[in-house]
């Protein structure tokens, strides 16, 4: 899957590239408007992640260029400004998602995956991890072809863990993804523990192996065992 990252801050670009390459994406980068503009004209990407503030132009203009060229690429706007205007303008221009800095790399990965799933009408309609199968279209989880009854939040929790499999996910990142910005600044330590425990119990009861590993003090890893 080809991804273009457009970001003027070198450290951010390197970190995003590193994380996303670890997720088996084919990552290209551009650190200014001009290069980005040339790249989106010359190559086809599955997803473009673009920072609004570039030294020589506005990232929104890239969105417009992509849309004018009828590109099929999914577009995620990244902005340091938590500005509703920018967000609305970006989405109006045809961007698919909007991320406000600072965000976490697992969150970026989840957004890209989700966008790719929505774009591929005929492709990946199922996510398989070991004994677990997720059907995002129906928000359904199957273990051994049997549907597992999960609450909507438990489903989103599982999807986020599967999307970022083999990665250590800290609690705050998980809570922010599943419950949103509202939980910002709220001590969610025990809260998340309860939900993970419930999810784990339901999966085990359905006959799935325990893929959720707890790293004390840090968070959770979804992995197929050591």
């Amino acid at each position: 899957m080809k991804i273009l990252l457009i970001e003027d801050e070198p450290s951010l670009l390197v970190a995003m590239r590193h994380y996303l390459e670890g997720e088996q994406y084919n990552v290209s980068t551009a650190n200014n408007f001009r290069t980005a503009s040339v790249k989106v004209h010359d190559y086809d990407y599955d997803c473009v992640v673009v920072d609004i503030t570039l030294p020589d132009g506005n990232g929104l203009a890239i969105v417009k260029e992509l849309k004018d060229a009828h590109s099929q690429a999914g577009i995620i706007i990244v902005s340091a400004k938590n500005s509703l205007d920018d967000k609305l303008t970006g989405l109006e221009l045809g961007a698919d998602d909007y991320l406000t800095k600072p965000f976490h790399l697992p969150e970026l990965n989840a957004r890209i995956r989700s966008l790719m799933r929505r774009r591929q009408h005929d492709g990946e309609t199922q996510l398989v991890f070991g004994a677990i199968t997720l059907v995002p279209n129906r928000k359904q989880v199957l273990v051994a072809n049997q549907s597992v009854e999960l609450t909507i939040k438990e489903y989103e929790l599982l999807l986020f863990l599967v999307t970022n499999k083999n990665r250590l996910l800290s609690k705050s990142v998980i809570v922010e993804h599943v419950w949103g910005d509202y939980m910002d600044g709220i001590d969610s330590h025990d809260f998340l523990y309860t939900h993970v425990r419930n999810l784990r119990r339901k999966l085990l009861d359905a006959g799935s192996p325990d893929y959720i590993t707890t790293r004390y003090g840090a968070g959770y890893i979804f992995t197929e065992g050591e």
């Binding site: 250590l168 419950w179 709220i186 809260f191």
Partner: protein, 421 residues
Amino acid sequence: MKLLHKTALYLLLAALPIALGGVFLLNEYIHRDILDEIDELLLSEFIQVKEQLRQHPPAATDLPGWDPNVQIALTTTPAQTAPTYKDTLAYNHREHEPAPVRMLRSTYAVGNKAYRVTLQQPYLEFDEIARALSVGVIVCFLIVVMLLVGADILVTRRIWQPFYGIIGQLQQYRVDGPDEAEFPASNVAEFNLLSQSLDVMSRRTRHQYAQQKQFTDNASHEMQTPLSVLSFELDLLQQSDRLDETDLDRIQRAQQEIQRLSAMNQSLLLLAKIGNQQFPHEDAVNISDLVTQLLDNYSDYVAHRGITINRMIKEETFRNMNSQLAEVLFSNLIKNAIRHGDANRSIFVQAGTNSFTITNEGDPLPFPEDQIFGRFVRNQALPQSTGLGLALVKEIADQYGMSVTYKYAPSMRRHMVQVDF
């Protein structure tokens, strides 16, 4: 009252005493003039009488008695006296009543005879003429004043036209509007000056506003980027296999502080933006729906802490305000109550037409009550708090002229925050 009407009214009010005083003065003046004329008339008549007496001194018996206005009598006083004038009453034969007359009295000697001459001249219509004249003149004066006021209204209305144009422009003026305000030019020097001064002022204000806004945006961008770098580096570091639990714990705490710093940065920028009035767009915000939705967002967390929320939300309550700010206002209040409220207790939320009240159970504040809406005033026991949530609530409420009050009931251990719309 319009300037136009005020001027006209004052002109008319000033004209009235002038008219009244004018009647009096004019009457006096005409009276005196007539008096002088009559005296002159009497004097010339007296000279004629003297001439007659000198040329044809009459016998004592045939002193003329046929004219009541000319009476000549022999007198024993030998000395001649200068004529004296006097106002008196005399019987008027035509009107059959006493009427005011002017009388000249003098003694005149011809040879050895002395005559006492009394000449009378009735005022008759003179008085009436004086009165009619003065009233007539004043009526004319009043008519002229009224015509002038009328003309003044017409002229003033024309002259002040550009002024009203400027006011119209000012009313529509928005420092953040898309277009530069154009104040109309005029051929009146003062209005032109006003227009130009306003042009300069509005351009300067717009410039400063734009700069301020730019600074706010830049500050946000400049700070969020290094925070993102920090956060990304920690995200990557966390994936390393060589870390033990203590290391991971340290990373977690660092991440939390980054998050807090970022939230603080966002809140401070929001405070600055509100102060700069950078949220001009207003909608009729459905408070009932907003509060319900915000409470629902926390339903999982509230259930986890065993908190029960008692809602009394009046349907279809609207308030005109910026929707983004409305969300910040109510979500901060709700989050505050949920975060600080004791576990396994209740929270009351009441949203009515004129007020919003939220109460939660908990220990008294660790700081003085009147500081609760201050910036960076926070409960040190909660490390993730920024101390800006309620400061934002206050700032937003002030922006829309709402009042926010805090009360603590020690007997029930309840904190209450109320917003009056």
